[in-house]
Amino acid sequence: MKRLRRAALAFLAIVVLASLLAGVFAPASYDFQFREVSNAACSTHHWLGTDALGRDRFSRLLFGTRVSLLLAPAAALISTLLAALIGGVAGYIGGKVQRTLMAATDLSMAMPWMFLLITVRAMLPLNTGPAASVVITFAVLGLLGWPAAARVVCADARRLIESDFILHARAAGCSEACIFRRQFLPNLRPVLMAQFWISIPVFILAEANLGILGLGVAEPLPSWGGLLQELQGLAATSGRPWQFAPILLLIATVSCFHLAIERKESEA
C-alpha cells in the first residue's frame, strides 16, 4: 500500500513537472494548426496525432494539464479558505450564528450555480484574453465551491467545541484567545487539509464539465475540459484510441490525488 502511494506521488510529480516544463517538452505550440495533417494518427512528429484542426494533441495535452493542474489547486485553496472561515465561525460560535450561517450555506447549495457561472462568463469583457478568462473561471469556481466544504468544517468545528479537551482547557482557565488559537485551530487543520485535497479533483472535473458546455477555457488555450469536449458524442466510436489520452490522464491524476489524500489522512 505504501509503495502504491509512493508511486502515486511520483506520478503526480512527473505530471506536474512535465506540464510546468511544457514549453520545453512540447514538440509544437498548443495552438498551431498543421492544416495539412488534420486528424492525423500517432507518428514520430505527432506523438498523439493531431486534432480536427491539425493541432498537435500531445502539446495540447501538456499545456492543458498545466492549466488544469495549476489552477485547480488555486481554486481549491480559495474554496477551502472560505469554507474554513464560514464553517469555522459557525461551528465555533454555535447557536444562532451557526444556524444562520448554515442556512445560508444550504441556500447557496440549492442555488442554480451553473446558471450563475454562465451569467458571470457572459458578463466578462469580450476582449478578456484566454489566460485571464481561464483564471477568472477557476476563481469563480473556487468562490462558488465552498458550501459543501463549509458544512463539513462546521460539523468538525462543532465536534471540537464539544470535545473533552476543549472542556478541559476551559476548566484549566485558559482564555478564549488561547482556546481558539491553540486548541481549536490546530485541530481543525486535518479536516481543512482533507477538504483541500478532495476539492482539487472536483475542480478539475468541474472545469471539464464547463468545457463540455462550451463555457470553460476560451480557444485556443487547451484545458482538460476543452480536450474532453472533443470526445463528446460519436468521436468515441471513431477508431482513434489515442484520442482518449486526456481521459486516461485525468483518471490517473484524480486517482493519484485520492491515493495521496488517503496518505495524508492516515497521517493525521
Binding site: 472542556l167 476548566a171 482557565g173 488561547c178
Partner: protein, 254 residues
C-alpha cells in the same frame, strides 16, 4: 481552619428540553477532605462535576441555585473572574484521559498553556513549575516525555499528565470525575494512591466522583450517595460496608 465549609452548594441543573438532572441538590465539601460521591451512571454525577466550575453551559446545560466557594458566590461572578477561579482554585480531572488532552499539541505545550492561564513569568519559572508538577505525580520530566503527543502516551501516563496539570497551581479543590474508570487495576490503585498523597501533601480537598464504591471507600474520608439527582445517604466509609443500602447494591454489581 475556618468553620465554614470550602464548598457549599444548593443547586438544580438540567439540559434544554429534558427533565432536571439535579433537583435541589445540596452538598458541602470541607477544607482538606476527600469526599467520595457514588451513584449509578446517569444519576447526574458528571453534571454536578461540571456545574461547580460553571462549565455546564458547554454541554448546553443550565444551573440554578447558589454555589459558595471559599467565601465567594461563584454564581455571581463575572466571566473573567470565573475564568481566574477555574484551574487556579478549582481543578477538574475528567473521565477519559486521552480525550481530555489536545491531540494537536505536545505535552509540554499543553502544560505551558495551563501554567500561562494563571501565571505570567519567564519560561524558566514555567519549566520549573512544570517539572515540580510532574514530579508530584511521579512522571519523569525528561525531554522525551514532554515532546510526546497525547496519542503516544499510555492511558495511565495521560491521566498523570492531567493530574499534573490540575495540581500545577495547587488548587483548593480538585474535582475528579471517574478518574480511574479507563484504567487497568494496577494503574487504578496507583492513581488512587496519588490522590491520597496529593491530599495529604497540599491539604487539597478532593471531590472524588465514581460509580465504583470500592475505590471511593479506599480513599474517601466521607461518602455521599446520589440517585435521581438527589443525595440519598451520607456516612463514614466504615459504616457502608455492613449495611444493606443502595451502596451495597452498587457493590454487588461489580
Amino acid at each position: 481552619m475556618s468553620a465554614a465549609p470550602l464548598l457549599s452548594l444548593q443547586i438544580s441543573a438540567g439540559y434544554a428540553g429534558r427533565n432536571e438532572v439535579l433537583r435541589d441538590l445540596s452538598l458541602d465539601v470541607e477544607h482538606g477532605e476527600i469526599l467520595g460521591l457514588v451513584g449509578q451512571s446517569g444519576c447526574g454525577k458528571s453534571t454536578l462535576a461540571l456545574a461547580i466550575p460553571r462549565l455546564l453551559h458547554m454541554k448546553n446545560g443550565t444551573v440554578r441555585g447558589g454555589i459558595r466557594f471559599n467565601g465567594r458566590d461563584l454564581m455571581g461572578l463575572r466571566k473573567s473572574e470565573m475564568r481566574k477561579v477555574r484551574g487556579k482554585s478549582i481543578a477538574l480531572v475528567l473521565q477519559s484521559p486521552i480525550a481530555s488532552l489536545n491531540p494537536a499539541l505536545r505535552i509540554c505545550a499543553q502544560l505551558e498553556e495551563s501554567w500561562l492561564a494563571h501565571c505570567s513569568g519567564s519560561s524558566l519559572e514555567c519549566r520549573r513549575a512544570i517539572g515540580t508538577a510532574l514530579e508530584n505525580v511521579s512522571l519523569d520530566a525528561s525531554r522525551e516525555t514532554l515532546q510526546k503527543y497525547p496519542s503516544e502516551l499510555s492511558v495511565g501516563q495521560a491521566q498523570r499528565v492531567l493530574i499534573a496539570m490540575a495540581v500545577l497551581h495547587k488548587p483548593l479543590l480538585l474535582i475528579a470525575d471517574e478518574p480511574t474508570s479507563a484504567l487497568d487495576a494496577v494503574t487504578q490503585s496507583e492513581v488512587l494512591e496519588l490522590f491520597s498523597t496529593l491530599n495529604r501533601r497540599f491539604g487539597m480537598a478532593i471531590l472524588y466522583i465514581s460509580h465504583d464504591l470500592r475505590s471511593v471507600a479506599a480513599i474517601s474520608s466521607r461518602i455521599v450517595a446520589m440517585a435521581d439527582g438527589r443525595l440519598t445517604e451520607t456516612a463514614d466509609p466504615e459504616r457502608w460496608l455492613g449495611q444493606g443500602t443502595q451502596s451495597q447494591a452498587l457493590l454487588a454489581q461489580r
